[in-house]
């Protein structure tokens, strides 16, 4: 297709505002997917996406649309995830586009990730088409949504398209507006091929499938191309697009998006953000993306130690399509061998764990998540610590720095008091408070990342009864009075529970963990002391009293085999317990406590 008839756009929004549902309608209206093949949230292909009703991966798809002006256009849409953990997917997708549909839920209005994702789009100078969705809802408030577009986002609201993705209202108008307002792609004017790699996934048959946007020149099977980052030169085997299933095309021309394959076996050889160039006559490299680094770490262990190899293979498989996931071997006295995994955020972590359980059928347990600390050593060196169990001896530590994020929280004005209390409980410092409209305020604050890891988001939701939202971006490190909290049974450290906490919170957390552990560790034939220690000093203690008896009294002839089987089962069960010192702790106890964090 000639560039003048191509439109590349993403759909961006706060989570659940209807991006994927709107994509469904666009696919249907353009005949890309026949009505009878249509399922809800069609682009959410993964089971997990379907089940949770969220988008995790960006999904590109190519559609053809004959506009009112009678001309036929190629529309390349990229549906994106709304959740903050996957913001990098959004920014990469945006780099392949000239425009973006910004969806706002008519009932919810502008929310934190609406703001964040819009900022991403504006940074890339994209044409923004505001769409007010879900106007079919009885409590839809269109004037208010428009007002917010203008006040909060500074987007002229008279251009906003009113739509209901669910009812199919406004779809035609959206398509027309895309054709009218989003500029066609312009060649860079360089001498040869430039194609930006904005994503990749692994296919068992084709190897690595590279998602590209052609900025200059064209891409066709048989070409020899070079990827400067890996320095690899490969022969292109296949190019194509998605409808939303992949289909081959003779070539991808300037301005088009699609995929290429080249018999590449390892995803590591392909770097997202790299530029595909003509190997004989290479043009210049396009600006790529900022490297993404995992921000949250947690140990993942197989419940059955025998599954260790299986776990490794499974994580490696996941990583093929999830370049943000990192892992390396670690071991724990309590849990045996496992992997320290790095994630973009908590949702990402949850999703990886769930996929391991579901798609790979593994029984796993994850340790308390940790952020990456910087430890300034007395010898002047700097260490990064993502596992509190490996924090150097206190005497070698000059200071500990923790990662800080800038968070913005949007909430109803009536909740502002509770919200400020929450932020300060989480050691945050409020920087600005803006009134967004008659109902809502936006708080901007600096807050330690480890404080928002666990329940910050849930707490906001519960304080605001679902109306609040938040987003964040990392802004660097600050020195902080962090202390290592260890949990011990009868004097032995249970490494799976070690964590770095701010000194002001160490004691409370120690107490909480101790009492949780007391609940889940079964009584044994001797007394068990559970202690919490902060930097070597005990701050909490619970005692589990010794069992005074362990016998079921009645046992006659008929019972013997039944009873033996019962005892054998118990004995078998004890084998699966982790012995910490002389104390047998069932794996379920670890899981229970780690889960309830």
């Amino acid at each position: 297709m000639d560039a003048a008839h191509i439109r590349n756009f993403s759909i961006i929004a706060h989570i659940d505002h209807g991006k994927t549902t709107l994509s469904d309608r666009l696919l249907q209206r353009t005949g890309t997917v026949a009505d009878r093949d249509m399922q809800e949230q069609h682009l959410d292909a993964m089971d997990l996406e379907k089940e949770r009703g969220i988008t995790i991966k960006a999904h590109p798809v190519t559609m053809y649309y004959t506009a009112k002006n009678g001309e036929k256009y190629e529309l390349n849409l990229i549906d994106t995830p709304g959740h903050v953990d996957f913001a990098y997917e959004v920014s990469r997708s945006l780099s392949a586009c000239e425009g973006a549909l910004l969806i706002v839920d008519a009932a919810q209005g502008v929310e934190a990730q609406t703001v964040a994702n819009l900022h991403l789009a504006m940074k890339q100078n994209l044409e923004i088409i505001p769409v007010i969705n879900k106007i079919d809802l009885p409590h839809a408030d269109i004037p208010q949504a428009k007002q917010q577009l203008e006040d909060i986002l500074a987007i002229p609201a008279e251009h906003a398209v009113l739509a209901s993705a669910k009812e199919g209202i406004g779809i035609e108008e959206i398509l027309e507006t895309i054709v009218e307002r989003i500029p066609p792609p312009k060649p860079t004017g360089e001498k040869s091929l430039q194609a930006l790699i904005f994503d990749s996934y692994f296919d068992t048959y084709k190897g690595v499938v590279i998602l590209v946007r052609v900025f200059n020149g064209e891409l066709r099977a048989g070409m020899m191309v070079k990827m400067p980052h890996s320095g690899k030169t490969v022969e292109i085997k296949e190019v194509g697009s998605f409808n939303p299933k992949p289909y081959t095309r003779p070539k991808l021309e300037v301005g088009e998006t699609g995929y290429m394959t080249a018999n590449i076996k390892s995803p590591r050889e392909v770097k997202v953000g790299d530029t595909v160039l003509d190997s004989k006559n290479p043009a210049s490299v396009l600006p790529g993306f900022k490297e993404i680094h995992p921000m949250v770490f947690s140990g993942i262990y197989p419940i059955n130690t025998g599954d260790y190899e299986q776990l490794k293979v499974s994580i490696a498989k996941l990583q093929l399509n999830d370049s943000a996931l990192t892992f390396q071997i670690e071991s724990s006295a309590a849990l045996g061998f496992g992997y320290r995994c790095g994630f973009l955020g908590l949702l990402h972590m949850e999703i990886v764990q769930e996929r391991l359980r579901r798609e790979f059928n593994l029984d796993i347990i994850a340790t308390y998540p940790s952020v990456v600390y910087r430890v300034q050593m007395t010898d002047g060196t700097m260490k990064e610590v993502d596992n509190p169990a490996f924090l150097p001896e206190a005497s070698y530590i000059e200071e500990i720095q923790e990662p800080i994020v800038k968070a913005f929280v949007i909430c109803p004005g009536t909740n502002i008091g509770d919200m400020m209390a929450l932020i300060s409980e989480k050691r945050g410092i409020i920087q600005t408070t803006e009134t967004l409209d008659t109902r809502r305020v936006m708080l901007t604050c600096k807050i330690p990342m480890n404080e928002i890891l666990i329940d910050f988001h849930d707490r906001i939701k519960s304080i605001t009864r679902g109306y609040g939202s938040m987003d964040y971006e990392p802004i660097g490190y600050e020195a902080s009075d962090m202390a290592k909290l260890d949990m011990m049974v009868n004097g032995e450290v249970m490494d799976a529970f070690s964590s770095l906490v701010h000194r002001s919170k160490a004691e409370n957390r120690g107490r909480l963990l101790a009492s949780k552990l007391k609940e889940v560790i079964p009584r044994q034939q001797f007394q068990i002391a559970i202690q919490a220690s902060v930097g070597g000093k005990f701050v909490a203690r619970e005692t589990i009293s010794a069992m005074r008896k362990d016998v079921t009294a009645k046992c006659y002839g008929g019972d013997i085999s039944r009873k033996r089987k019962l005892l054998e089962k118990q004995k078998e069960g004890k084998k699966r317990m982790k012995a910490i010192g002389s104390v047998d702790i069932p794996q379920e106890a670890f899981i229970e406590v780690l889960k309830t964090n």
């Binding site: 034939q525 008896k549 362990d550 009294a553 009645k554 006659y556 002839g557 008929g558 085999s561 033996r564």
Partner: protein, 392 residues
Amino acid sequence: MSEPVRSLYVHVPFCAHKCEYCAFYSAPASGDQINRYVAALVREFELIAGGCRPDTLFFGGGTPSLLTLRQWETVLEAMRRCGLTGAAEWTVECNPATVSADKARLLRDAGVNRISMGVQSLDETLLDRLGRVHSRDMVFRSYDILRGAGFTNVNIDLMFAIPGQTLDIWRQTLHEALALGTHHLSCYEVIYEEDTPLFHQLQKGEIDVDEDLACAMYDELLDATAAAGFRQYEIANFARSMPSDPGGSQPTVSEWPDYACRHNINYWRGGDSHGLGPSASEYVGGVRSRNWSNTTLYCEQLEKGRRAKEFAEALEPLARAGELAAFGLRTTPGWPFDLFKQRSGFDLRTGWHDDIHRLIERGWGVQTDERLYLTRTGLRFADAAAEMFLRP
């Protein structure tokens, strides 16, 4: 021809009413059903008769005393015909609500010489709580009937740590039971067996389990029975010895008290035993097997002339030895090393060296030149000890 089996158990799977805590296979039944069962049982007697000459015989249930005089006559007649009578110890379990003088005499005349009464408690409220059909009065009346019929060896079953039972109530029951002048007591703590009403109440949190109270009751039991001249010979079993001949010399202390139940000792020491009737287990020639826990199925099979086995397993020698070790330690004499070797083919001292060491270290066990046995504390952890000694 191998040695005949010297022990026989017969399960009578009927009860007037199901108790709240009971996990035995038993159910109320019509007269016809019981007749059908009796006929099937007679068939089963015939099937095992060739290889069984019981020294100990035990009718348990359920409620054996629920059989009518006629039904008992049929059973006893078949046993005589099959040469199964004449055991040195022949026990029949009785529910205090179902003992009549006629029945008692019939049993006595047939050779039954030991009665086990499921009393459980002498507190009316607790009897109700447990769903027992008998009353406190019936216990005393039944006991008199049994004595009148000539039974001198009567066991009384009691339960403690019953929900709602106080230490005082327990003490009272215990003393009243001892005052009856029986020679044998079985006292066990309430067990919450899965799928019993009591268990469900526990699950729903309707029952508080008070371990300290249970322990206090157990201590009370040990003290009271000792004071009454009983000797504990197994975790839950206490028996007296015959009064010694005043003129004779002081007898040496025997391994078991005279009134100990030989039938049960045979189980704990891993001897062979036949088990007849629905749900009964037997252990014969190294094979453990069990009849179907379903009276209709049981009858159908026997009507076709075959035994009604639900399953049979032959344990590996080491697993068998582990089981022997585990269960024998429940008795106060524990295991004489020689006997263990003779029964299992393994040497307890070498094969279980580490476990014995651990027992002693924890103060749970004592090892002498001759035997290994559990201490008073050890008996409180007999399950944990048993677990150690089992071998997969």
